[in-house]
């Protein structure tokens, strides 16, 4: 379907897939919806596909280009090199590529943006805590595919020289395309990039995925093939993958260059220099309370405690060292952690679900008293969440990881 040849009243979103009515919709076109809080409160390790949060930047592509029988992935293994083309059948040929499963979070850089709006209005979807979900992704190791098409290993992961890594990038292009004349300053397809060294690193576990929780990848999550980059902002896990390009510069897309970056809270749209900051990749530690839900009535335990549960996660493969909960912001009780099975603290991609039993101060153990429940997490590198939202507030409303209340 070539949208640009269609007359103006045509709605490029009309062929978007049907969605679960329980998803908490933040925008209809492009479709963006949270994992419902009721799902998060269940503390299921794997989020069911239909409840998995959806972050689309553009209409879901349709037609031959995403037909599993006709799909073609193009890989350009280096500058001035011929593209190598792989079909879905090629990728799924187990004689060529070993299958690989990874349980991993996908989280939007804007998750918890609503908390920033409570300080001052920012630009972006007003996500609460549900722009995050966890699934088991199946596919093939990206590094194996890069080996197969002849990308030399010593360019990235085995580079000996300090500084050499950042000179090479793996650019990704999606099949999703803009609505003509509407999307701000980009004319091309959706695009992003990661350092080539990460794409080639066996311990980064980057995969080209075509199965999600044991089912074929759904349309909203990038069918037929998504490049799943664990530990990194969701925006770099490019859906409906069209091209992979080994290049000496980052993706020049709007989303890589001029969108997902976090300024300090005194920087305005007028003073912001996007070229001065790195693109968000590995994400900082974050956590949220999934139960009790905000402003709900809680039942104390006979010994005067409130039971809490939620999630914690950090980027770059760092597991969660500690989760602390509090009713006053000064004294803390450690939560019990359910760390992802089979993922070490230096290679954790899935979330750590936590439960806690927090003693409530005697003067608050009365009907009608409000509890100010707080959670903060610490990752395996002992990165912490900052106390206030104000201190991490930024014009783009990204990376909101102040203590969650």
């Amino acid at each position: 379907v070539e949208y640009k040849n269609l007359p103006p009243p045509f709605d490029p979103y009309q062929m978007d897939p049907k969605r679960d009515p329980e998803l908490l919709v933040q925008a209809a076109k492009p479709f963006n919806a949270e994992c419902p809080l009721s799902q998060l409160a269940k503390q299921e390790y794997l989020t069911p596909n239909e409840k998995f949060f959806v972050r689309n930047h553009l209409p879901v592509p349709t037609g031959d280009i995403v037909d599993p029988k006709k799909y073609v992935l193009e890989i350009i293994p280096g500058e001035d090199q011929e593209p190598v083309k792989l079909t879905l059948a090629d990728l799924q040929d187990e004689k060529r590529f070993k299958r690989k499963k990874v349980s991993a979070i996908v989280q939007c850089s804007g998750n918890r943006r609503e908390d920033q709006n409570s300080v001052a209005q920012v630009e972006g979807l007003t996500w609460y805590t549900g722009a995050i979900s966890n699934a088991e992704w199946e596919g093939v190791a990206l590094k194996d595919v890069l080996d197969y098409v002849g990308v030399p290993r010593d360019l990235g992961i085995n580079s000996e020289l300090e500084g050499e890594d950042e000179q090479l990038h793996l650019q990704m292009e999606g099949l999703d395309r803009p609505k003509v004349g509407e999307w701000r300053d980009t004319k091309g397809f959706y695009g992003a990039s990661i350092p080539l060294a990460w794409a080639q690193d066996p311990r980064r576990d980057v995969i080209l995925t075509f199965k999600m929780n044991g089912e074929p990848l759904p349309a909203d999550h990038g069918a037929p093939v998504r490049c799943l980059v664990p530990g990194v902002a969701g925006a770099r896990s490019v859906k409906w993958l069209n091209k992979l390009i080994v290049a000496s510069e980052e993706s020049q897309s709007h989303w890589q260059q001029n969108d997902y970056k976090a300024f300090n809270n005194s920087t305005t749209w007028e003073t912001a220099d996007f070229s001065s900051l790195p693109a968000i990749q590995d994400m900082p530690v974050n956590s949220a309370i999934s139960w009790p839900s905000p402003k709900s009535l809680v039942q104390l335990t006979p010994d005067g405690c409130v039971e809490m549960k939620g999630w914690a996660w950090s980027g770059g493969g760092r597991g969660i060292a500690r989760v602390d909960v509090s009713a006053d912001g000064h004294t803390w009780t450690e939560a019990e952690l359910k760390r992802p099975e089979g993922q070490s603290l230096t290679r954790t991609w899935a979330w750590t679900l936590w439960t806690a039993k927090l003693p409530v101060p005697a003067d608050l153990q009365k009907p009608g008293k409000a509890l100010n429940l707080i959670v903060k997490a610490v990752d395996a590198q002992y990165n912490v969440q900052p106390e206030s939202i104000e201190s991490v507030w930024n014009i783009r409303g990204v990376l909101c990881n102040g203590w969650h209340r």
Copy 2:
């Protein structure tokens, strides 16, 4: 010298080397001293050897064991395997091992502990901001040495399985030994470990170093050979290196198991369970003001600004994305950064020196008014420093990275 055979009045520290009188001594025996604030304020990228902070846990070893002509490094490449012995001449044989230089910070996990004491007394040396320095280390890549002695690469860096990494560790033992009957709960040599995967990772740049800023490694910094682990707590860069052991468990030393870990601020020595937390390895983002010095008189610029300078650093190879300074804790001015040359943002080991010109609010531009200058840094993963010291206070006084004032 076998201390244990010497009579009780013998002082094992009497043979410690002579030190620069400008070092800010925090403890004489074992010797622990900060890089002087005057040196930090100079903003020299490389700290001169004699001004480099010293963190010793035990007496400096002396005699044949550290004699460059007689020194022997023992490497046990796997369980139940024979040790391989390498002399300093072997390590320095450029036909066998390619030389490698790395500019890297060493920072004590307890740096800035004094700030925690201002909340409540903690255990440990009362470091101000100077338990950090930066040098150019020359030596050989640890991964090359591990290759040479036959440690299989697929054990660590190339491991395909999630979770496999943490099953193997590189244990290090120092030649420094305890004062008999004095050191708390360890009887052995100084010891530490890192994941084997990091030891083998070319992008981690771990080296066995024998030169510091172009000079032979000084006695206080581990002569003749130190294992320098960039991006990681100084305690894991074992000085006076005696043994390297590939093992299925971490070092069981006091310092790996029961010392360098950070609890929440409500955990006491009575409730602390050291086995529940990971050993500090990659360190969280931190920064400090080196100029103006605390409580000094400052001269404002003609346009009503105060000039500030300092350092910022983060562990795990993450460069510094942003440094913000403030006089009120609410509005922030971006500092100018001098990022380490030749080190990319995903492979930065040296510090980022910063300077800033901070506008002073009109009502504070008067003689006698106190300025509350603040700095906070953000690393390339957008990890931030928390506002308060209270929120990161812990019984051991480690990892103090609240905003520096």
